[in-house]
């Protein structure tokens, strides 16, 4: 496509910028100096602009995903009062380098996907980007190797310094209009257009750093081949776990969400803030478990995200070579160029999509992401010392519309949000049940609520069970501990009179720690009465005085009995849900029984924060548990090293 190109004298350029600054409609930001470095900041005069800069400390992502962003305000005096905050300020950003423009278009793919982020979208729509071709290459940059040193899309206007004047390439109608209304320009001559091309062609020679692998497929496969390479540990031994490398990165966009309440305990804000995958708490769940506990694994994760996980998902290398991370990392171990070149020296070809799973997703959250719907607690029942059942109804009285195995995010303003597997089967009833174990802030607070109190609900989220694929099969349910909670949604579905004929015999194995921790005993008694249903329970330990008729021992002790009963393994689907440690052992038992891998379904727990594939917390290698899961076919994910550690 031929782009329209204008020119403007240096002097006219200053007038143009000042005109924009004086226009109250816009907030005008541009590159300014800060000591020896550069930053994007609000402009008061065109003279402050430093279009000759090398790189800014932070990328312009701060204008689209601010460091601290108010998502909504709430009023705790009222039962459920929440107001979403959108930033509608029209903004012009002047002086964005091509690599940062490319980074933004990459972030668009994530934030404007099928579950788009309206907070981001509004900012994106309200911002005009005036780019500038790189005049001084930053010491640590390798963007030319990735082809992100120039770009012909993603901007409204793009400046190129031709010495005595700037060339302005028009990238959008918005940009054209802005220029026409505020500047006097000339048409670029053929010579000037040639000059731009020459600048673009000569730019790569100014780079000191060069990547040895630049093809995304080659990089993806090289990373997979070197997943276990000793380099990860050798380098990460020196890591400070500061996550500076992700904070300054234009393509890192993971975040945390927190509630803040003012000292009057009345009003508060739900805040989104940058988070980093190098920080240990990044994968920590309510029960205290950390899923990427070793720094080696977190360090490696960042590179895999850049060169494999996101690459397989979106098709691009999620690093634009700006070099900011290399500058920011004090022990100088974060430089992707160094790491990739070192990997190149080892070589190797791996199966590039080994860590990724293409999967249709069930549910796309409607409405604005992160904004919960109002719901009311309609019944509370204490099940055990630590577990309580909450029956909840959405205030619009509509059924939740979930599939078995899906989850919701339950929100208490002022405290926060946490994910819970839905415990009841799908139904036309507007009520559904969650069973909550008291482990953290949210669940402790929940314990103080009464029937009639309001909560916020987001969802249903995630991929549930594909019930069609279970039809005509024998079903073997294996659950440990709280795994029975989401499991119940599928069991109820299968035992529903409408559906029972679709399945053959149903066997339920359930293990709890102690008799007093057994959940749903009443329901289990009912299930057992159904035709062709058997339930076997076991407890890890049973102290004297406790009345218990089931087995004693780990869940695996129930399997030999199945053998005696001669099940038909090839036509059995096993559904396994339990604590992380359980899977390895149960899957072994299933394999001994002869159940094929592709007949094993599991549901995994990770830190689900956004629930819509953005915040990055729930990742298992290249997959998002909140999006592609939590229900998975074992055969699909057994190759993921982070799945069943």
């Amino acid at each position: 496509m031929k782009q329209e190109i204008k020119t403007i004298s240096q002097n006219e350029m200053g007038i143009f910028v000042n005109k924009l600054i004086q226009n109250d409609h816009y907030e005008v930001v541009g590159v300014k100096s800060k000591g020896e470095r550069f930053v994007f900041d609000e402009l008061e005069d065109a003279n402050e602009l430093r279009l000759d800069y090398d790189v800014t400390i932070l990328p312009p992502k701060k204008y689209f995903l601010p460091q601290y962003e108010k998502l909504m305000d709430f009023d705790l005096k009222k039962n459920f009062d929440v107001k979403t905050k959108f930033d509608n300020k029209p903004r012009i950003i002047i002086g964005v380098h091509p690599y940062d423009i490319v980074a933004l278009t990459q972030t668009d793919r994530v934030y404007l996907d099928d579950q788009k982020d309206d907070f981001y979208k509004k900012r994106r729509e309200n911002t005009i980007i005036i780019g500038i071709d790189i005049q001084k290459v930053s010491e640590r940059s390798f963007s030319a190797s990735l082809g992100t040193h120039i770009t012909d899309t993603g901007f409204d206007l793009m400046l190129t310094n031709l010495g005595n004047k700037y060339a302005i390439t028009i990238g959008s109608q918005k940009g054209k209009l802005l220029l026409n209304q505020n500047a006097s320009t000339d048409e670029a001559t053929d010579d000037e257009i040639k000059k731009i091309a020459k600048i673009h062609i000569e730019l790569p020679s100014k780079y000191k750093k060069k990547l040895k692998v630049t093809d995304e497929n080659e990089l993806s496969s090289l990373l997979v081949a070197n997943y276990e390479n000793a380099l990860w540990e050798e380098r990460s031994d020196r890591c400070l776990e500061c996550s500076s490398c992700t904070m300054v990165c234009p393509t890192c966009y993971c975040y945390d969400v927190k509630d803040e309440v003012s000292l009057n305990l009345e009003d508060g804000t739900r805040l989104r803030t940058w988070d980093g995958c190098l920080l240990r708490d990044f994968t920590k769940v309510g029960s205290g478990e950390v899923f990427r506990d070793e720094i080696k694994d977190r360090y490696r994760h960042r590179f895999f995200r850049k060169g494999n996980y996101l690459t397989q998902r979106y098709g691009f290398i999620a690093c634009v070579g700006c070099g900011r991370c290399s500058t920011a990392c004090l022990p100088d171990i974060a430089d992707p160029c160094d790491v990739i070149n070192e990997l190149h020296s080892f070589g190797g070809k791996g199966n590039k999509d080994k860590f990724f799973l293409k999967q249709q997703i069930d549910f796309l959250e409607k409405g604005t992401i992160h904004v919960p719907r109002k719901a009311t607690i309609t019944r509370i029942e204490k099940l055990t010392d630590s577990e309580t059942l909450y029956e909840i109804e959405l205030d619009d009285k509509k059924p939740l519309g979930h599939k078995p195995g899906q989850f919701v995010e339950l929100s208490l303003f002022g405290i926060g949000e946490a994910p819970f597997g839905i415990s009841t089967g799908p139904s036309q009833n507007s009520k559904f049940e969650l069973v909550v174990r008291k482990v953290g802030n949210l669940t402790s607070k929940l314990a103080t609520l009464k029937v009639g109190d309001s909560v916020g609900i987001r969802g249903p989220l995630g991929n549930g069970f594909d019930v069609k694929s279970l039809e005509g099969k024998h079903l073997l349910f294996v659950s440990g501990g709280t795994g029975i909670i989401p499991m119940r949604s599928l069991i109820e579905y299968c035992l529903d009179k409408k559906n029972r004929d679709k399945f053959k015999y149903i066997k339920i194995l359930y293990g709890a720690k102690r008799p007093c921790e057994v959940l749903f005993q009443k329901e289990i008694n009912e299930w057992e009465k159904c035709l062709d249903v058997s339930c076997r329970l076991t407890v890890d330990t049973c102290s004297g005085g406790e009345c218990w008729v089931g087995s004693v021992g780990l869940i695996t002790t129930l399997f030999p009995k199945l053998k005696v009963e001669r099940i038909d393994p090839k036509n059995t689907i096993a559904i396994v849900i339990g604590p992380p440690v359980m899977y390895k052992f149960v899957i072994k038992c299933l394999q001994t029984l002869g159940v094929p891998e592709k007949n094993i379904l599991v549901s995994l727990e990770r830190r689900m924060k956004c629930g819509v594939g953005k915040c990055g917390h729930c990742q298992i290698n290249g997959i998002y548990v909140c999006r592609e899961g939590p229900v998975f076919n074992y055969a699909d994910i057994k190759g993921l090293p982070e799945a069943f550690e």
Binding site: E241, L263, N264, P331, D332, I415
Partner: protein, 250 residues
């Protein structure tokens, strides 16, 4: 809901952290709306031993302090350590490089202090070296916003979230020029965040007043010292200001 009763106590400290709270100005009214302050020497004369939350400022330096602190712990449902002297021992721990008798000799010469409990000192301890601490409000001085966060959390019945990540996270969000680039040794990478990187933002390196999170590997320290042409002794001196006796500082 009954308002929790709060009492402030001071041990070896400059009382600057309590002053930070006294300085809340109008917000102090919000504070007394959500809690009953029953003892606070900085702003009131009355005192009561009937409290739910004890807020302790200062380090523990003497046997008589230890006894008093244990009593407070017995009385309180929740005990909060306030400020670096209480949470990590802070600058009071610098004294630990000498024995108690050396210290006494240095300060009081040959003056006879035998039998006087007030002068009977041992090596400085942080509060959690004597009793169980439920929550720490770090810093020298504390960050008022964090104090508010902890108090509102307790009043709402939730555990306050104190960052487990280093100051660099906040410093990066504040878009500061890293002080290493300016030739200064900063403890931000290994110090607990929560101060909103106030020192680096204002051009002074982090001194580690919120406590050290991690002991970096020797290779890492050496690489950094070499890359930025910094001095090992300077690093050690800086580490010892608030964290004397911590392994990373030895």
């Amino acid at each position: 809901m009954k308002k929790p009763r709060v009492a402030f106590f001071d041990f070896a400290s400059c009382e600057g952290c309590q002053l930070q709270i006294a300085d809340l100005e109008e917000e102090i009214l919000d504070l007394i709306n959500i809690v009953d302050v029953v003892s606070f020497r900085e702003v009131m004369k009355e005192h009561s031993d009937d409290y739910d939350i004890a807020i302790i400022e200062g380090s523990i330096m003497r046997p008589i302090d230890e006894g008093r602190l244990k009593e407070i712990r017995e009385n309180a449902k929740i005990l909060v350590a306030l400020g670096a002297c209480a949470t990590i021992g802070g600058i009071n721990k610098i004294r630990n490089q000498w024995t108690p008798s050396e210290v006494k000799k240095e300060v009081y010469g040959n003056y006879n202090l035998k039998g006087n409990d007030f002068f009977d000192v041992f090596q400085t301890k942080a509060v959690d070296e004597v009793v169980k601490v439920d929550y720490n409000i770090h810093g020298c001085p504390i960050n008022r916003d964090e104090f508010k966060k902890v108090i509102t959390s307790i009043a709402m019945g939730k555990n306050p979230e104190i960052p487990n990540y280093p100051v660099c996270v906040e410093c990066k969000k504040n878009e500061n020029i890293c002080l290493f680039e300016l030739g200064k040794f900063c403890l931000g990478p290994i110090t607990r965040a929560g101060c909103n990187s106030i020192c680096p933002t204002n051009g002074s390196p982090c001194d580690g007043c919120r406590g050290i999170l991690k002991k970096p590997e020797v290779e890492c320290i050496n690489d950094i010292l070499e890359r930025y042409n910094l001095d090992y002794e300077e690093m050690k001196r800086r580490c010892n200001i608030y964290n004397y006796g911590k392994e990373v500082c030895k």
